[in-house]
Symmetry: C2
Subunit: 292 residues, 2 copies
């Protein structure tokens, strides 16, 4: 019989839930909630969602902000913009069914690997370009987590002169340049207008100034991709997230392949859809691996 | 009975050979040769070494410059400063015994993992700081090679404004800053003296100018280590090679751990010795894995 997961995506702003089957198909309505401000309210929301659906599923699969440990049951350290106590959530205690937790970007990377853009490719790096930048690394058809589970943080440096503060507390990380927030900062630096928005840039992208801003932002993404390709010798780099719409994927692939010292690789857009975090968490929780 | 490998280290300047046992011990004299200028002369030297020693050993283990394929029998693409035809060497045909080939930095990383500084640690990144920078990545107690074997190239960017040309043809790679050559270039930039040598800097390291140069160079190494720790969540980063003598390892470990978003890790100096390339290639060829 086909197995199912109750998938719950936990972000700093929104929490989503739905039911996903072993094929990675969403087979119920996707419900959307604003993320509550306190630990207790978040826990109460989880309990409400779980009590409503747990009888229909085999496992509860969380895709969450924050780094998740290697036993897939807890969060390591702190997470950005969500209630301070959230990382201490005891996920296992939320249901009598099995509960599985994975980082959202890692889960999204797994969805791309099983049903999306990196299907059939054993080695891939997924970059989720949104307000921030998430990363998920698949090596030898397995999700790479490192010694404690925190791997895949795209906080490598783009310059070394402490020019731009990063959300992580350090300076000049890839996230601080390649993200939507990074584009806004690059736009402010180039235009001299501190009020400029990413919307202004994208809506007016044929104007020379905006074109220059977008090219600078895209070049930073290119430089990051080159570094990752030289480190991993991957089959592909997948660009995911809302900001991935605004890059020239063919250019990135062609240019990166000219500059690497490793072997030719692809740069592709994500194709597992908006709910790839929930789909990937469900597929991981259900133990679905590459079939080919 | 204890097995042995004839280990041959092939660099652009020197070729070494010796015999290594399963414990990673060098049990014969280390012979040293200048690297011949042509493919045919290099091949003749290999044949001479192999015919002299192959009867005493179980396998021939090469640690070579250049990326080595995943079947460990050939070189991928081109390699820097060695005879142009060298990458097409048919290593298997050199002996009736089994021939095993691995990249020198990968081999050195394996030696550190089995008998050196990263023994007992499943996840490590080895940076070999010499004239250039080599890299070797151990993940889950296995040498990480990527889809074709070329992984571990430490050519990620330190800046994005095409400031300093790298040996790889691109600009501003970690190698172009963290290497001995990088230190010389940093020294020239800071001092304004294009003739300055790394020797000048190191011999006069208590003078404020030289101190500033060394600190700038070391800071670039730090920034690279931070990025790698955020990507891999490793147990440790091992610094190897002649230039590793000139960094403050305790400072690097303390400062990097303050800036990462992943979990605490060590920064340690290599301890497998000058011949870690030959030792690691031998241990890989003999199939020696982590015992604990």
């Amino acid at each position: 019989m086909t197995k199912h997961a109750l998938a719950i995506d936990v972000g700093g702003t929104k929490i989503y839930n739905t039911i996903v089957n072993e094929k990675g198909e969403i087979i119920a309505e996707v419900e959307k909630h604003s993320t509550p401000k306190t630990f207790n309210e978040i826990k109460a929301l989880f309990e409400e969602i779980i009590s409503k659906y747990e009888r229909q599923v085999d496992v509860i699969a969380f895709a969450t902000c924050g780094a998740v440990n290697n036993s897939n049951d807890g969060i390591l350290g702190s997470t950005g913009n969500i209630a301070k106590g959230y990382p201490s959530m005891d996920f296992k205690s939320l249901s009598k069914k099995r509960v599985f937790v994975e980082n959202d970007a890692n889960a999204a990377a797994w969805a791309e690997h099983i049903i999306g853009a990196s299907k059939g490719m054993p080695y891939s790096v997924v970059l989720t370009l949104g307000t921030g930048v998430g990363g998920g690394i698949i090596l030898d058809d397995k999700l790479y987590k490192g010694k404690n589970g925190a791997a895949g943080e795209m906080h490598f440096k783009m310059r070394t002169d402490k020019h731009r503060k990063c959300t992580c507390g350090s300076y000049d990380c890839f996230e601080a340049y390649a993200s939507g927030t990074g584009l806004k900062k690059t736009a402010a630096e180039i235009s001299g207008d501190s009020e400029i928005t990413t919307y202004d840039v994208i809506e007016n992208k044929d104007r020379p100034l905006m074109k220059k801003i977008l090219e600078t932002w895209q070049n930073d993404i290119l430089e990051g991709i080159i570094g990752l390709a030289n480190i991993f010798d991957p089959d592909c780099v997948v660009l995911s997230g809302s900001m991935a719409e605004f890059v020239d994927i063919e250019y990135l692939e062609a240019q990166a392949n000219k500059e690497i010292v490793t072997t030719p690789f692809k740069v592709v857009k994500a194709s597992a859809g908006n709910y790839s975090g929930m789909i990937g968490a469900a597929l991981l929780a259900l133990g679905v691996k590459e079939s080919g």
